[in-house]
Symmetry: C2
């Protein structure tokens, strides 16, 4: 009757792993995750082939998947984000089937409505008991929230919890509940603590980035949304994070008490919670140890599932109540469509994550980006990959000024009245091109190597192979 098995091999055998199955992983251990690799390595040893992988994100640490693709162990891949290492191999055409890119909200929606069927979900659990109750706040591999694993565990035919910290039953809180768990296996290490906390969570020191962040904070100040009950999300990128630095004095000066901060949570948001700028944090993923500690200790720091965070299929999700989100871009086009999937050469090096979910849900989505990077303009005629539809984007903030989506005339007038330098987005494009010259268009490339599925399940773009 015990769920505790003595080895990963035994777990895979008891869960019935077979060729042709679809197995799933979550990415809270980020670039320190050992679990995806150890499962694929064991599957290969068992002679299993033709696996579909549903991983909420794929990081550089998961580069061994490239060889598993070459060897036929992995033939299908769905994910919400892909780091540059695996992204390069995919873009070069290593896999026959196109990758399906989803969003952090679209993925649990697809899992819960059955359009993505998972045979075995693997939960990387920093702490677990022998019946499968698991959380991310204890143990040497503590990652904090386990929000992306919830739908997987609930909906998979079999769920295997892999932990390096077995604790007495009943473990609480239970981010994953025993009701959903078939097998528990203890291993030496589920991840590398240094990789779990990613290096992206430092506020930028680049003066251009700081200028952009300050301007974005002013956009919020004058947007009309900064009032009591204000809710806010920012990404973990250096410039996005810096917005919080400039937003704090504005909130203090205006006496604004925010309701909640959302998203992947950093220490900067934790500080704002502690200092009373926000009443609550809603946390689907912790970006640093300060966030992990806060989730463990502060009852106003609340773990949410990916579904509750951002699913378009639930009766309401956190993103639906969001006032403002700060988001990055590798490109943005004249229709405000944003690319966060591919780099300037058309190579995959990212993915939507929660980008398009929060843009769709928030009253105001602010894109922060420099006018150009590596002498290539960010504002383009047409994005190479459409990650987030322009209809859901409000404002682009660059170091030279801002552009407002023409659908948001009232917002534009507010920002002008606030003294911001407001341009037509085509003017920002011209400013950039005056410095960089007009870039060569990227070749659209060969066959389709990835499809971009919007949060509602429709395909909004394709990514083609490049060399």
């Amino acid at each position: 009757m015990s769920k505790l098995v003595s080895s990963l091999r035994e777990a895979l055998e008891k869960a019935g792993l077979q060729s042709g199955m679809t197995i799933s992983f979550h990415h809270h251990l980020r670039n320190g995750d050992y679990v995806l690799n150890m499962v694929l390595e064991e599957a290969e040893k068992m002679g299993v082939r033709d696996l579909g992988i549903e991983a909420s994100s794929v990081f550089d640490v998961h580069a061994p998947i490239i060889d598993h693709i070459r060897g036929g162990v992995v033939t299908r891949l769905g994910t919400n984000y892909m780091g540059a290492k695996v992204g390069r191999a995919i873009t070069q055409g290593v896999m026959d089937n196109p990758v399906i890119f989803r969003t952090h909200g679209g993925r649990p929606s697809a899992i819960e409505n059955g359009s993505v069927k998972i045979d075995i979900a693997f939960v990387a659990a920093p702490a677990a008991d022998e019946n499968g109750n698991a959380n991310g706040i204890y143990g040497k591999s503590a990652c904090g929230s386990m929000g992306y694993a919830v739908s997987d565990a609930r909906c998979a035919k079999k769920t295997v919890v892999i932990t390096d910290c077995l604790m007495p039953y009943p473990l609480s809180p239970a981010s994953i509940e025993e009701t959903d768990v078939d097998f528990v296996v203890q291993v030496d290490e589920i991840g590398d603590a240094k990789g779990i906390v990613s290096g992206t969570t430092q506020i930028t020191r680049d003066p251009v980035g700081l200028k952009i962040a300050k301007t974005a904070a002013d956009v919020i100040r004058y947007s009309g949304y900064l009032k009591n009950g204000f809710s806010f999300q920012t990404g973990a990128g250096g410039a996005s994070l810096a917005v919080t630095k400039y937003l704090k004095p504005i909130m203090r000066e205006k006496g604004v008490k925010g309701s909640f901060g959302l998203g992947g949570i950093t220490s900067y948001m934790v500080d704002m919670l502690k200092e009373g700028y926000f009443e609550k944090l809603m946390d689907v993923q912790c970006f640093d140890l300060g966030a992990v500690a806060s989730l463990r200790e502060n009852p106003n720091h609340i773990e949410v599932s990916a579904s509750r965070y951002a699913s378009p299929s639930v009766k309401s999700a956190c993103v639906d109540h969001l006032d403002t989100v700060i988001l990055g871009a590798t490109q943005i086009d004249l229709d405000f469509n944003v690319n966060v999937h591919t780099d300037s050469n058309g190579f995959i090096m990212g993915g939507s994550g929660g980008h398009s979910d929060t843009a769709a849900g928030a009253k105001l989505a602010v894109i922060v980006a420099p006018l150009y990077r590596a002498r290539l303009p960010i504002v383009v005629d047409r994005v190479h990959t459409k990650s987030t539809p322009g209809s859901t984007v409000g404002v682009l903030v660059t170091q030279r000024g801002v552009a407002v989506n023409p659908k948001r005339e009232e917002l534009k007038q507010r920002l002008i009245k606030g003294g911001l330098k407001v341009f037509d987005i085509s003017e920002l494009k011209e400013m950039a091109e005056r410095v960089t010259g007009t870039p060569e268009p990227i070749s659209k490339g060969g066959r389709v190597v990835a499809k971009v599925e919007y949060r509602d399940g429709t395909i909004i773009d394709e990514i083609r192979s490049a060399e």
Copy 2:
């Protein structure tokens, strides 16, 4: 886009209430609940008829349902427990369709596997925000755990939260999450605080009850299950509760540190948590204000859904890890089958609740009952209604001695070795009949007015009408 509607009528209309639908309720407000009555009254005003009611329990306060049955507003009823008032009317044949009695674990199982389909779930929420996040720990009607409402809210086509304490978004913790809620309505009062805390949670002062409780504690002492990691559930009846009083010094003396207390939670269990007798409490329902306060304040007091508490369909439930449960009985027969549905005249005045779930899950189910009540013996040849199969019952404890299920010979030897007076169950029956005489058998009555569905969905008994 707001879920907040201005009246219950508007909520019912927007949720699409129609004749023939099935609607559901949970019973955490116990005999103080106003919500079931107010919904049925409004439904009647709307001219809705032929409703099926799925209520986790029906108390005396719900007696107005009898008139709704007579009037054709309610034609079907599923529940896990029914107080004597409605029980009498049902037993007298007020409703054409038989009541379906389920268990606290069988109900969420049936809801989650689709064999019970709910059109609209009504959640009586002591605190809620405008998006439907709800809990039972705040507000004037605080009831503590809302565990029985979770499956309803998740699986119903529409979910309506009814609250008398609207709090700012995002309310936390969220026993019910906004992802599952369609409409929120604020009313003056969802219940009567005095009725929410039931009068059943006092330890008995009756010397017979205390004798039984002391013996039950000795059964646990000598059972072999009382060791570190011990887990325990007791009902809210006076004699069941008294077992905790006698168990504490035994645990102290033996230096036993328990792992968890389970079930409907009382202040007595809260004290044992505080005093370190147990590491955790797992709480599907609070029986008194001490339990409510503890759930609010003590992170080791954990709210669990009914599914997690006791469902036979999940991958494991709390009851599966239970060492010992103390349970009551209105009758127990020579095969150790227990009746908790009908009284000595065959009238419905109870129900399984978690009785058969915990008996099935626990390593040792102990039935505590006096040899006779009101000059009627408790031990009978054959129970009038089979609520809990004898195969899941270990020991009967009476004031004159104990009887051990013949399947448990090793346990019997342990109890004898411990010095307990161990009898064959037929001897206990004879002892009772020497006092009471042999009772007239209860007439099996007329047509079927209720069916007893075991936790796995099979019908294990029927209850017939009586006058």
